[in-house]
Amino acid sequence: MTIKKSYEEINRKLKAGKAVILTAEEVSKMALEATPEEIAEKVDVVTTATFGAMCSSGAIINFGHANPPIRMEKIRLNGVPCYEGLAAVDSYIGAAACNPDNPKYGGAHVIQDLIDGKDVTLEAWAKGTDCYPRKHIKTTININTINELTMFNPRNAYQNYNVAVNTTKKMVHTYMGTLLPNLRIATYSTSGELSPLLNDPEFRTIGLGTRIFLGGTQGFVVWPGTQFHTTRPKNELGIPVTNAATLAVMGNLKEMSSEYLHAAYFDKYGVSLFVGIGIPIPILDADMAKRVSVNNSQIETSVLDYGTVGAPKLGQVNYAELQSGTITVKGKKVRTAPVSSIAKARKIAGELKEWLQKGDFEISKPVQMFPKETSLNSLKETEADND
């Protein structure tokens, strides 16, 4: 018999506490002995998760109006520049923003301070208008004094990512960590078989409006992420073998916790934000069961030389090899290190499973599916005097 389940049917089972929910790791183990048809019959939802540094993150803030009011045209939060090109007291603080005089404290740290309940200094300047006469304000804000504090991350949850190595004689400092010279380390940043977009590689269940775990609360997928690329080379299971699709996500930062959201500073690179994301995947049929059954040895990625301009590809490895601690690159054994937290990803997948089991979390059918056949443009240079 061919199994077909609807979102409504799965939600009814969730509400009644009768749904069977597994984490992506648990279902990968189950798949060693069960067929996709058997899994589709037994399992209703599979939880996936990731906890990695995602620079393309940030927060929309509304400060509230002072009396007399100000139309903020230059804004600093604890000295970190925020975007001033919105309405009078609306702003967006990017995770990677920083004051060049204090490069180790950036937007991500401001966001974390706010969710931790700490006071933050707001300073803003303006030219003064008839309706907004004020030219300067300096005050203290915190999570309770401001109006909205909404996370909006234009690009998160990368579907696969490259492995970084360095073949040069010099240490290289990157967002993939500090890379020792002479191929002495390979770093990787995906939670492998736990990673959301590797479990639904063709986006049959993830799209606009998908309800997700975001930073410790419920959030949503709101758009394809920036640099959304669906036509990268794929393996025989349809899984891209390099960085491909991404998600834009939103959620209420006031409900998030620094347990699942953490500011970071990468030496000689800059500030970023570790973001905890969990996505439930409904097992609608045997095809979805097959997708989520994928294990680390079936997910491959590309090894790139971050020490050389253009980051040439040196090889291809799978996540079982990466997680074993050693890979072979150009005939040489190279030690590996993760740079995204697998322990936290596991915790998120477990937490989301609990929410689903309690009936606190409804799975949602996307209101619109993602575009297919997308690719990326490079930045064209029209001036002659570039570096």
């Binding site: 540094a53 990468f266 993760p338 740079v339 322990a343």
Partner: protein, 136 residues
């Protein structure tokens, strides 16, 4: 026989005495110098691995302390704020000594201080700035 690592901090006036010689000769301790920094006329620091009988190592350390050498076992000199660690693994990438590793079952960070050579690469490599080392 035990093996233990110590961070030694020498005061200004101690550069001319052959302390390590006495550790070997008088206390029968095998020493391995893992790191040394000398600032002439100011101070000096040494990371030593001492290998010998427990009572001999204790006496040797006492001998050093009696000569105004600050002698701290390595696990006290190097601190990781483990409570705030997110187990991302960035520090394990730079730890060529194999002191910082990820547990392959739990994917939690493990810190075997007996393997640390105080290269200090983990300090800037930790994106949360959780390592503190008191070497000089």
């Amino acid at each position: 026989m035990i093996k233990k690592r110590y961070v030694l901090n020498f005061p200004t006036q101690s550069g001319d005495k052959a302390f390590t010689y006495h550790l070997v000769k008088d206390y029968d301790i095998r020493i391995n110098i893992l790191k040394a920094e000398v600032y002439p006329g100011k101070k000096g620091s040494l990371l030593l691995e001492l290998h010998g009988k427990k009572e001999n190592i204790e006496k040797g350390v006492e001998y050093l302390q009696n000569h105004n050498i600050k002698c701290e076992s390595l696990d006290k000199a190097i601190q990781l704020d483990a409570e705030n660690c997110i187990d991302c693994g960035n520090c394990t990438a730079v730890c060529f000594a194999g002191s910082l590793t990820m547990n392959k079952e739990t994917w939690k960070l493990e810190f075997d201080k007996d393997k640390c050579v105080v290269c200090e690469l983990c300090i800037p490599a930790c994106p949360l700035n959780l390592f503190k080392i008191d070497f000089r």
